[in-house]
């Protein structure tokens, strides 16, 4: 049994280890390790297309996770105050945002936005005083919107679970002591749910940062890091892609470890 479990762990980590190992390969060849070198990291960093894609991904992930953390937390708190029926509608919609395949979310967003742009752009052009009217198009905004959908659902679920486990008595004690609802929130509730909000933010960030399929549909002419990696893989694997992939892995790993650490706190105190 132990041998079997060890084999499964090897199965899980061998591919990851190989990517990391070959990112340090001196030669160009992706399968003969000819010596240790960090040159591919240098080349990756010097690659302007890649750095632009990385920057796009960071901006998008940061914005969508930030919005998701704020609005998702607000929704989680607000849902507590809703009637059973309204809460069920919310639960259903958030569940749908998570269960519906990413490929469908991407398509639906693309289709809806293109329709809206087709309707709105002529209107803007008609009322615009200058020569060149601004045109709405796919890009940052549409990726952030589509990512925000499921990252918000994720944050709401995590924060809601934390709120459900909060002690009611301490909230009641606070209002018995004549604290205003806002003071109670700021001094009692917020400090307790803050770790789960942060954890939700980090997970949302990772999800958005790693997402390929939704961005693939709604990115327009913008490129995100996963889209860049995907395109490069089709041109053939080089140590440079391994270097990029290793950086992606290390980044998401770091964020996950922090998120898990934050969420563990809830069980210890």
């Amino acid at each position: 049994m132990r041998a079997l479990v060890t084999a499964v762990y090897l199965f899980l980590y061998t591919p990851i280890a190989l990517v990391v190992l070959f990112s340090f390969n001196a030669g160009r060849n992706a399968s003969d390790f000819t010596g240790f070198s960090t040159q591919w990291y240098g080349r990756a960093i010097a690659n302007t297309f890649l750095m632009e894609a990385l920057q796009n991904s960071l901006t998008i992930a940061f914005t969508s996770a930030g919005l998701a953390a704020i609005f998702g937390t607000m929704a989680a708190i607000g849902m507590e105050r809703l009637g059973a029926r309204a809460r069920a509608v919310f639960d259903g919609l958030f569940a749908a945002a998570i269960v519906v395949p990413g490929v469908v979310i991407g398509i639906a967003t693309l289709v809806a936005l293109v329709e809206v742009f087709g309707f709105v752009n002529p209107l803007i052009a008609a009322v615009w005083p200058g020569e060149q009217a601004p045109k709405l198009s796919l890009g940052y905004g549409s990726i952030i919107a589509a990512h925000g959908l499921f990252t918000m659902a994720l944050v709401t679920m995590i924060v809601k679970a934390r709120i459900a486990s909060l002690g009611r008595d301490i909230v009641e004690a606070s209002s018995d002591l004549y604290a205003t609802p806002f003071t109670t929130f700021r001094q009692i509730v917020l400090p307790q749910i803050l770790p789960s909000i942060l954890a939700g933010f980090l997970l949302a960030f990772t999800f958005s940062f790693d997402d390929f399929i939704i961005a693939f549909f709604v990115a327009g002419s913008n490129t995100t890091l996963p889209i860049y990696v995907f395109a490069s893989i089709r041109r053939g694997v080089t140590p440079e892609i391994n270097a990029i992939a290793t950086m992606v892995l290390v980044a998401s790993l770091g964020l996950i470890l922090i998120a898990r650490f934050l969420m563990r706190e809830k069980t210890t105190n």
């Binding site: 049994m1 199965f11 060849n29 929704a75 519906v100 469908v104 398509i107 997970l203």
Partner: protein, 288 residues
Amino acid sequence: MPFTPATNRRLVTAALVGPASIWLFVFLVLPFIAIIVFAFGERAPEGGYQAAFTFAQFANLGSRAAAFKNTLILAPIGAFACLLVAYPVAYYLAVKASAKYRLLLVSLVVVPFWTSLLVRTYAWMYILGARGIPHLLEMVGIEDVRLLNTPGAVLLGIVYGYLPLMIMPIYVSLEKLDRRLLEASADLGARPLSTFFGITLPLSLPGVMTGIALVTILLLGEYLIPQLLGGGKVFFIGNALVDLFLQSRNWPFGSAIAVTLVVVVVIVLLIAMRIAWRVAGTRQVDLV
């Protein structure tokens, strides 16, 4: 007096859930209505959408039968293969592993799930590719082995990519298992194997069901694994959708397929919930 405490409370609640409601409506509900409308439309001559009311797109679904067949066969097989590998691991983690290392071992299972599936899948591309395992086999005299771009490669990628998602719910349900039941069973003279089949396995069924449902549902919309490891030969519905929207620009037909895919997902979900209620127990899954 317009601002009684009751209206005030309502305003605060509305302000709290407002942004999320708008987001859900604009970026989930509206787009869904849009693809349903599109699915009944026609392809414009230069690609895209042209208004119409026709069932032709749905009648044409058969032309993508291969994608539906691959998805509907490989998703459940993949989920079941995941289960076969995941169960022993979950069992070991929940029952056998020492408490000291349990948390670490569980984390090591979850971490890959939260890292890029794209990167993890492409790693297999070159393990299975001509310069990977087939190259090693050649050195020991086994020639002409082709692993990449086969259904087997896709299945392997599926098991690899979704294994953590299968292990976790089973682990959660096994961890809740009352040890005293196992001891009682042993005290009453049951062999380990009959304890397993009589007690452990039935009590872990809710976790097994959750895992199968989660993995199957996610696999129904899979794109990357068949694309990278199946080389366009093992087409899934997801691949057909990318092709229809981004290459041939047949949006109405693509929308009809997308709507059908969502219907399939909902059916699978309903069946899973039915069975889950029957085997009773929790439907709680802790993925993080």
